[in-house]
Symmetry: D5
Subunit: 189 residues, 10 copies
């Protein structure tokens, strides 16, 4: 039977990556110890994806401040990532690693590969420092994502990781009051 | 093999519901023709869920304006939904139907039932008027959702449904410019 | 092949419970050493169940006197049991533990879960101190039970457990004469 | 998967019977149109069974008044039933049909045959006029039954059959008040 | 593939028995060391069986003289055997053990149980002191057996057991000449 | 599961036969309308079989008088039957057909083939005019049979075929009194 | 997949035999160390087989001279072989062992049993001293064999066993020239 | 289970052939209506095969006179057959078709392919005009065959085909007396 | 079992392509009627592939003259092909269609996908106008191909397609003599 | 699933061979340590194959100079290879071993056996000194190969084996410049 991904551990992957003009290999092992944002998009050099990657690039320091790394992932090779970065201003400003998944290993594990086109759906997975998935969103082609909402959800997940899962109200942002529940409050909120 | 839910059609369900002091039965047939927001939460009368349901209640007219209906779903019976609404101010203001899923039919189809506890994960599914899933988010227990982001994603999905899937930039909101791509722009954005 | 439950051992369960304003966890291990009365009913906050639970509540000290514990069980959560007890006079007087079985573990083991509605049939199981079922009754929805008959059957089961199974006449109550059979009586009674 | 017997239809049986000095054949067809009480006991000529059969014999007219027939069943032949009735005063007063089930067809269908000893458990099944089981109790060897409780449960089942399954309080007896539930009473009882 | 019973060993059974006013348990172990005559008949208290059992009772000492025990077997309980012996003159004179086989273990092993009626066919099995079947006869219902022929066959089997299987002419009786075959006689008799 | 042969129909066979100096083919079809005695023996020209076949030959007219045919059967060919009849006085007097079963078809159907030696056990089957087996006896090698007892059993089977199966006492012979049972006699004989 | 018999080892058999007025048992073990000629024929006492067996009997000393034993085999018993030898002049002169195969073990291993008739085809197998088949011929019913050709083939097989398999011309007889092949002769003969 | 080839029909083959300097295709259809001698040998251009093929070539007219065709078969191609005939005197005189079986279709059907070496065993099959195998011989490598014996067996098979299978003595040759069997002769020959 | 690709038909594909600044879709149907050269290479923008594609580009008119189309194939998208052509001089001169196979459909059919890296091996398939493969070469990564040899093989395949498969010598080029074989030449060349 | 042969190891074979007038056995073990060229062709003595084998013979010293051995392979026996070499001038000049594969072991492993005709396709496999396949070409019948291209590909494979797989341009020949790639060149060639 299918089960959802919540609390399941990511696979033991090793893929090529492009980052800041260099090629490298990134494995699951390299990603542990930090929160990971796996950000899938359909294809390099295609129409509108750059705006999403640029939106993330603009918030990159916010993610880094809360001990998170961003991994953009498409089914293109690392050679293509490099060529794209050199050819496009928006991608040129990306500083996070761009993973190359031409064999589809990551996209198949995260169940976001469209086998008909060979492209990935737009999806984002928030993975905790132990490699376990805590939140994920999968959109149909064309439905973009929002870097600020990803950041808000990440911070909520971090709050739950620290304080347990019975406390966090909707649309909570760091610094807002949180509720300290007691038995007397059951059924009263 | 598991496949993700994007573009798959929801099951032919029939469940009891509580809405505005009345009991009724709601089936898949009743939901077609409008966009549907299926909003799963763990349990009535439990700690912090009411804030999420209240957040949605506060935005209910915004969803109604764009031809969408909200369905909150938990594994409690309709009797419990009624008792909760009568006992709690936040729930008292809910006007959308609260679905009763004690047999787990909806939660199992949407793959959000935690079989160990018998409770549903916090998840939201955006379903188009033909009953096909266009976006979904599943969070671990405790990670709340954001009514405004659900509304933004719904509107992006509606835009794509109308204009095709190669156009919509990240974090787009209705009224903002959209990009009309041409072949010359490929690789330039 | 199906076999009946007589003399089979109950499963190794662990469920949440509500009792006297507190939440706790009750496992099979906690129930051994005493006779157990597992009393299933369809749903909290539904129409007529309270009268049965109240009937048992009124006889609770009689059961306690003969080393028996009562466990009421429905498919509702412990949060709902608490809310019901606070909302309803009949339930307020219940002193025995009310087990929460939203995952259906107990109802499925005892074969009393109606998978269509997700609710339990009205059923009662008498379990000996070693966890083995000695008597059970399953009624269709709406057919109530009788605390005094449950008590009588419990005492008969206790009598057999002590004196063997060839002695106990119909409708026997403690203190009445029992028959000491001998070979000469075979076929004469 | 095993399912319980509630609402399942009895098999299409045909067995020999002894009644009032005569042999006959009784089939499922003969039992429809009336409520049926199938009363299993271990063995003719054995120690204490006669008291249960006599208890039922004493209440036989009460059952007849509410359109019910009693069928006692053991794994003995009709020849043995006749011999027992001729040899034993308690059995001599039995006026209901005594079914002979040496092939175990009834006991296996009702899941009350102890394959090790070839004898039936003490069990009682209440079957409605369409042949569907509405209530049943199975006791371990030695735990006797109570004709008055069987009659009370039969009358409750008849009440539900007439008025629906959301009405009948615990330990209800004919003539007592019954509750007419309304939506406002939900959660109040 | 089915094989016939000749030279196969009887099962390791344990059944209740009635003999000379007493109840006991008889197992395979108790039967070894002597020749055994297993004599199946349909039912106690039925029409014509007593004449066969009486015929055997009249020849019982003849069987005992040649180190053989007779076991009558029906699907009735030991309680019924006792009641029958007390009610019927013919059975009253039976001195050999009457085995109770209500669970059908012996009748199923010997393949003489009519599953439709739950009764045994009229059959007789001659078993040697090591528990191996040497001769058997199975008749349809109503076709009686002959104690003298059983005795003659037993003695022939005993003769073969002592002298080997190439010697015994048809219808031989103890004391008659037997043929000592030699190679020269092959094809001459 | 193995079942016994009573009331089962014989196979549709066709074998070679030797009778009165001639070869012929005999099929099941040829045997219907008369009672059939199938008399298996191990081997032609072997030690002691002739005495059994001679015993039957001496009673052949008795069998013919009651509309029965005798078929002796061994695993030898018809050529061997002829040679044996020409070489041996006892066999020379046989007038009934001697069936040749070298392919083992009859012996396998009647379950009397010893696969190790390729020879048939000593067995006799009484088959009614419709080809259904009514009685059978199987003996280990060396245990001879008795033509008079076969005749007695045949006549009892014929009596039952005519009068039903609840009438025939042990060791009954034609002309003796038979019992007309009535309900009052149940348990009295 | 079926494979032919060449170089496969004969089974570990043990059968009864008739030879020179005596009965004995012959096993595979007894046949090793000498070449074996297994000569199957359909049936004793049948029409034309004796001429083949007589032809072999006339050449028996030739086979013995080259360390070979002849085994005639039919599906008849040893008793029948003896009777046939006593009744027929041609068989009376046979001095080699006549194997009895009524259980069909040899005929089934050598794949020459006609299951329909239970008789063996006319076949001859030449087996080397290690029990491995070196040559075989199988004829349809009625097609006789030739002792001289069997002898010639045996001697050719013996020659190959001694000198290897690349030397023996067609229709070679002992004493004739054999060819000593060399590489230069390849393709020249 | 494997069965022997007697009376089984040859496969529907089509192979290339070389005959008298020409290439052609020969199919099963071409072979019907005449007796066929399928003569397998290991390899062209190898050591001693030519002598066998030459032996057959010398008797070719004798086979033709009795309406038989010879087909030599090896696993070599038709090109190799032609080259061999041109290079070797013995093969040059062959007039019958030489079949090319490099795909192993014939050798596999006739079960004479040695899969280890890819060569055929020395084997000969006599096939009647309807394509059914009547006799076959398979020899180990090196054991040659005899054209005269093949001819003798062919003629015996033809005699049986015309006169039935109960007549042909051993080593019979055309023109010799044949036996007209009668019932009186059974067991006398 | 695996079979090689010779004479098998290509799958019914439809992929995106880039050619001369335009995007299009190319299906199997579009390729029939001409010879097709499917030229697989590992990746766009990677090290040394361009030289092979340039070598083919330089000979493109030679292929077009003999009614052949070249299809280069990699696992990159059409967007990447376009970007590569715009970024690289060697690719800029390519005029044949560059197929995009990110879903791996073509590479999997032609069995040249390295599942580990998601890249294609260097392979070339020559497909006739009916879509059937006539020649193919697969090289390990890094082993380049030769446009002139592909052209020579194509022309040889075209020659065979026109004149049959028994004529074409090694390393034949159009215009050279070809051999008209006759039966007399067999084995002489 | 089928996989291609690249980098897979050849089977552990042992076949007969003909070379320079001598017969020998060649196994996989004998071929390791040198590069191997396995050159399959349909049949000896057939029309046009000799020209290909002669072309290879003319370049044999070039292959030997780069530590490579050539193995020609057909489904003919070593006897036929010898006869062909003696009959044909072109083959007479062959000095490399000619492998005999009549059992089809090599052709089946390399997947080039046409099971219908039993002949091999024209194919060539380049195997490295560890027995792993580095390049292969399979042509339909009639499409010849080119010794010089085989040599060129062999040398390219040797170059890659020494220098890695990211360097070798199309149609490279030893002595030509090779490209030393650097990251800056990615996408620029």
């Amino acid at each position: 039977m299918t089960t959802n991904f919540i609390d399941s551990e990511i696979i033991d992957f090793k893929v090529n990556a492009y980052q800041n003009g260099e090629f490298s290999e990134i494995s699951k092992q390299d990603t542990l110890g930090k929160w990971g944002i796996y950000f899938f998009y359909p294809a390099d050099f295609s129409f509108v994806c750059p705006t999403e990657l640029g939106d993330l690039a603009d918030h990159y320091t916010d993610f880094q401040k809360v001990n998170a790394e961003i991994y953009s992932v498409s089914e293109d090779s690392e050679f293509v990532h490099k060529a794209w970065a050199e050819a496009t201003d928006t991608i040129a400003k990306v500083r996070y690693p761009m993973l190359a998944d031409p064999a589809g290993k990551l996209a198949r594990f995260f169940n976001v590969l469209d086998e008909e086109s060979g492209l990935a759906f737009r999806a984002v997975f928030i993975v905790d420092p132990e490699g376990k998935i805590q939140s994920y969103t999968i959109n149909n082609m064309g439905i973009g994502r929002n870097a600020e909402e990803i950041l808000r959800t990440l911070e909520a997940a971090q709050f739950v990781a620290e304080h347990g899962d019975r406390v966090c109200p909707a649309n909570w942002h760091p610094g807002e009051d949180t509720i300290t529940p007691s038995l007397d409050l059951v059924g009263k909120l």
